[in-house]
């Protein structure tokens, strides 16, 4: 076992310090050390997107980031999407459109979709599918997820011109 390292980060707008081994992924650190278990692990090699978090200004699969790499960075997880007890429009749209069944992929989809809507306020279906292709869902066939993201885009950014 290597010496543990102290890591200073900002998670969901709050300063957080944690102690980890260098080999521990950011995902492990978030879940097992910080206690934020909303971010899920589905594959451990970056292919399912369940562990998606926002790191700095970009979404990543947190299973492929070391916890020590997060030093000085700001991180957003699914626990940071809602404003207090008010759901984020994407969260609400996922519920309104029945865009989740088992729910295990949902946190990853929400974080990825949030980043999509910041980059493309009114994404086309094709843009949405392309952006979300790093997130696997095995329950829904994606149909209702795509519809939920499109509905949230209108809710957040108004109707497309």
């Amino acid at each position: 076992m290597s010496a543990k390292v102290q890591v200073q980060t900002t998670i969901n707008n709050e300063p957080v310090q944690f102690l980890c081994e260098p080999r521990q992924s950011l995902l492990e650190c978030l879940r097992d050390i910080v206690g934020l278990t909303g971010t899920k692990e589905g594959c451990g090699d970056g292919n399912c997107g369940s562990c998606t978090v926002k790191l700095g200004d970009r979404i990543v699969t947190s299973c492929l980031v070391l916890g020590v790499e997060a030093a000085g960075e700001s991180i957003t997880t699914v626990e940071g999407l809602a404003h207090g007890s008010t759901l984020h429009p994407l969260q609400k749209a996922f519920l309104d459109h029945a865009a989740l069944q088992c729910g295990i992929c949902t946190p990853g989809f929400l974080i990825a979709a949030d980043a999509l809507l910041q980059k493309h306020p009114h994404p086309t279906e094709e843009q949405t599918r392309f952006w979300l292709s790093n997130n696997l869902c095995r329950c829904t066939g994606y149909d209702k997820i795509i519809r939920a993201v499109q509905a949230a885009a209108i809710e957040i950014n108004g109707a497309a011109q």
Partner: protein, 731 residues
């Protein structure tokens, strides 16, 4: 017939929704307990080998390691003991043998030993330090090879080599039937082993208390089955085991069997601390139960009028390492959509050196429907008939007898076919060159099995629902809606909770498309009992003999109270009202599903794009239509993946070479179009609201529908699934 409902047929927000979109919902891997330690499993690199020696000393000596277990740590048990789980029997030796190998390993990925350590990294390092000496044996990977003379034999105690079971259904006079036929088509089609692909890996945490009680927290489709299986493997009474079902991240049939639960318990017994085991994705692919690969031969004869005169099927399904290939349901469903007088069906359950298979959404049915539905497509073409018309001329209806015995009550086959024929999709032109449209239909029985529920009335007029069906896709809400309908309340007035096996009556698995039907019936019955007790309270309050209840209002002798108003007075009329029901229903109704699919094939690369898909299914009565649509869309997506790209790619030594999401190639969002849905409602007479299960039938048509569409696009009839780009080009 049409009944007006207040709640059923609406689309309320799911009760667990807020938890699941905010990350608060607790899945198995999220569990943290005081003093909890972590495990890892050592798996066989060989597909077939004798275990000569296991030396765990180096692993045990690694700092941070608490315990190591192997099959030798299981309590002794007679070799021929049979365990009954209500849904089917299993030999205890098979159940145990798959959990930790003893004597021989039977597939690459077979669990051999397990370690508990301070964290998962140390546990994995320790597992790698366990020394196992193997004597490799020749392996056999497909059913036809395993049935051939001279094949390597997996189990010495099976009477027919590698054939564990032979199934035969016969009806009428086959030879006479074929003699009447003017067109006869026979085809043989293979399917590859595929995995359910649920995103959440298997996990289990166990604590073996010093008082002998074992508490297990896990991701399971059935907490009582997990309890009973774990108790059998550990040779303790079922009452000594309590299973708390955590939220479950997908199952599709693959989370009925136990893999980790008894191992975590054994480790915990040695250590006296809670032990958590979580599978890696590769473990999930190689160490859990995929669904069988198969070879199916179907021969169908049709007369000039387009009536099927005879049908014959031969099915060989790969069980994997232990018997139980789902060939039974494959054989029962192969011609289940049609009324045919002369039938012969033979099925073979064949063990091979691949992971022991388990259920996957209508298990066994897609494999056999692939053959039937492509043969019918070919016959329709030869007769110059629309493929849906050929099916309509032969569609099963009320009174039709299936070759395995039962006669149908109301069944929606004709209604589904007519809905397909009338759909906008079926009547739209194809968009361009190299395109093809395919159709197919499929049948799934649906299951009954026991379920329990308890309803307790709160003083504020809401009702708590206690149940034991793990919720994979919204069943908390589809059950609450049935309670609300009976009680005249809104769905959100019901507060559902899924509890552990000590806290509710026996409840079977969330599987077999049974939860909304069976547990729904338990909830319905409990709700009716609540109504009766509430009526009695009102009668006491008003000193009348007769109280009526309608639309949430009790009335009698000119007085009336809403449900909430009466609930507030329960304290004064005899105390709280709480009712439980346990059912074991027999009135299950089968479901028919159909798919229309358009594909486009790149003639240079063989790449298939799915352009449009419409799933049609008889739901009996759709309790929550959005969830019914979701089942149809999900089953269609899985079926498309199965048809086009997914497979266990095994090398000659039986090692899975694509045991990652990267190379297993499940569909991404970019690989599918929107999936249109048409819900058909032919009420099931065996359920008060007419419910038929909707979880499974939808995966039955896609393999054949895609094959038929590819034929129209390319002129080729392929004989193997997946119909991937190289296969389409014959390269």
């Amino acid at each position: 017939m049409s009944t007006t409902y207040n709640v059923i047929g609406t689309r309320p927000i799911r009760h667990d929704g807020a938890d699941k979109v905010t990350g608060r919902a607790l899945y198995g891997a999220d569990l943290q307990l005081a003093r909890m330690i972590h495990g890892a499993i050592l798996r066989s690199p060989h597909a077939h080998a004798r275990i000569l020696r296991i030396d765990t000393s180096k692993a045990e000596a690694l700092p941070g390691v608490f315990a190591v277990v192997t099959a030798a740590d299981f309590p002794p048990a007679p070799a021929d003991k049979i365990v009954d789980f209500g849904e089917g029997d299993t030999l205890l030796s098979s159940l145990r043998g798959n959990i930790l190998a003893s004597g021989k390993v039977l597939y690459s990925g077979h669990a051999v030993a397990a370690v508990a350590a301070v964290n998962a990294h140390v546990a994995a390092e320790a597992a790698a330090l366990i020394e196992v000496d193997y004597e490799p044996l020749p392996c056999v990977l497909t059913a036809p090879e395993a049935m051939a003379p001279g094949a390597p034999i997996l189990h010495d105690d099976l009477p027919n080599g590698n054939v564990a079971e032979l199934i035969r259904y016969e009806m009428g006079d086959l030879a006479a039937g074929f003699a009447e036929a003017t067109v006869i088509v026979e085809r043989e089609l293979d399917t590859a082993t595929v995995h359910q692909g649920y995103i959440e890996p298997q996990n289990a945490t166990a604590f073996w208390s010093s008082d002998g009680r074992i508490h297990i927290w896990c991701s399971t489709q059935g907490s009582f089955v997990a309890r009973d299986a774990s108790a059998a493997v550990l040779d303790v009474p079922v009452s000594q085991v309590k299973v708390t079902p955590m939220e479950i991240g997908g199952g599709f049939g693959g989370k009925i069997n136990v893999y980790l639960e008894p191992v975590a318990a054994l480790l915990s017994k040695k250590v006296g601390r809670p032990v958590k085991l979580v599978m890696s994705r590769r473990d999930v692919f190689t160490g859990t139960g995929p669904t069988p690969g198969s070879r199916v031969r179907v021969k169908i004869g049709v007369n000039d009028a387009g009536k099927i005169t005879a049908a014959q099927a031969w099915l060989a399904y790969e069980a994997g390492a232990y018997p139980g290939a789902m060939v039974g349901p494959g054989a029962m469903t192969v011609f289940a959509c049609y009324e045919i007088e002369n039938v012969l069906i033979e099925g073979f359950d064949v063990v091979v050196n691949k992971p022991s298979t388990s259920a996957y959404r209508a298990p066994g049915a897609p494999n056999s429907a692939l053959a039937t539905e492509t043969v019918l497509d070919e016959i329709a073409e030869k007769l110059g008939l629309d493929p849906l018309d050929l099916r309509l001329r032969n569609a099963a209806k009320e009174g039709t007898r299936r070759a395995d015995g039962p006669r149908y009550k109301r069944i929606g086959c004709i209604e589904v076919l007519e809905a397909m024929k009338a759909s906008p999709h079926y009547n739209a032109p194809l968009p361009g060159p190299n395109c093809g449209r395919g159709v197919a239909i499929g049948f799934w029985f649906n299951a009954g099995l026991p379920s329990s529920a308890t309803l307790s009335v709160n003083a504020d007029g809401t009702v708590n629902l206690i149940e034991g069906s793990t919720d994979i896709g919204g069943s908390r809400t589809s059950l609450s809606m049935q309670a609300a309908e009976v009680l005249g309340l809104r769905a959100e007035d019901i507060h559902p909770t899924i509890v552990d096996t000590d806290s509710v009556g026996y409840t079977g698995v969330t599987g077999g498309s049974r939860t909304t039907f069976s547990t729904g019936l338990a909830v319905h019955d409990a709700a009716q009992m609540v109504v009766e007790q509430m009526k009695a309270r009102a009668a006491r309050l008003w000193a009348v003999d007769e109280v009526a209840f309608s639309n949430g209002t009790f009335s009698g002798n000119g007085q009336s109270l809403t449900f909430a108003e009466l609930a507030a007075q329960l304290g004064a009329t005899g105390g709280p009202v709480s009712c439980s029901a346990t059912v074991n229903p027999k009135g299950v109704g089968g479901s028919i599903a159909g798919l229309i699919i358009d594909v486009q094939v790149d003639p240079e690369t063989g790449k298939t794009d799915v352009l449009r898909a419409t799933s049609v299914q008889d739901a009996g009565k759709a309790i929550h239509p959005a969830y019914v649509e979701g089942q149809m869309q999900g089953g269609t997506a899985q079926g498309i993946g199965w048809a086009l790209n997914e497979e266990y790619f095994m090398d000659a030594a039986g090692d899975m070479r694509n045991g990652s999401y990267l190379d297993y190639r499940m569909p991404t969002a970019l690989d599918l179009p929107m999936i249109e849905t048409i819900i058909v409602e032919v009420p099931n007479p065996g359920h008060p609201f007419g419910v038929r299960g909707v979880g499974e039938a939808n995966i039955v048509p896609p393999l054949a529908a895609v094959a038929n569409a590819l034929y129209r696009a390319t002129g080729k009839r392929l004989n193997r699934v997946p119909m991937n780009p190289a296969t389409i080009l014959g390269l």
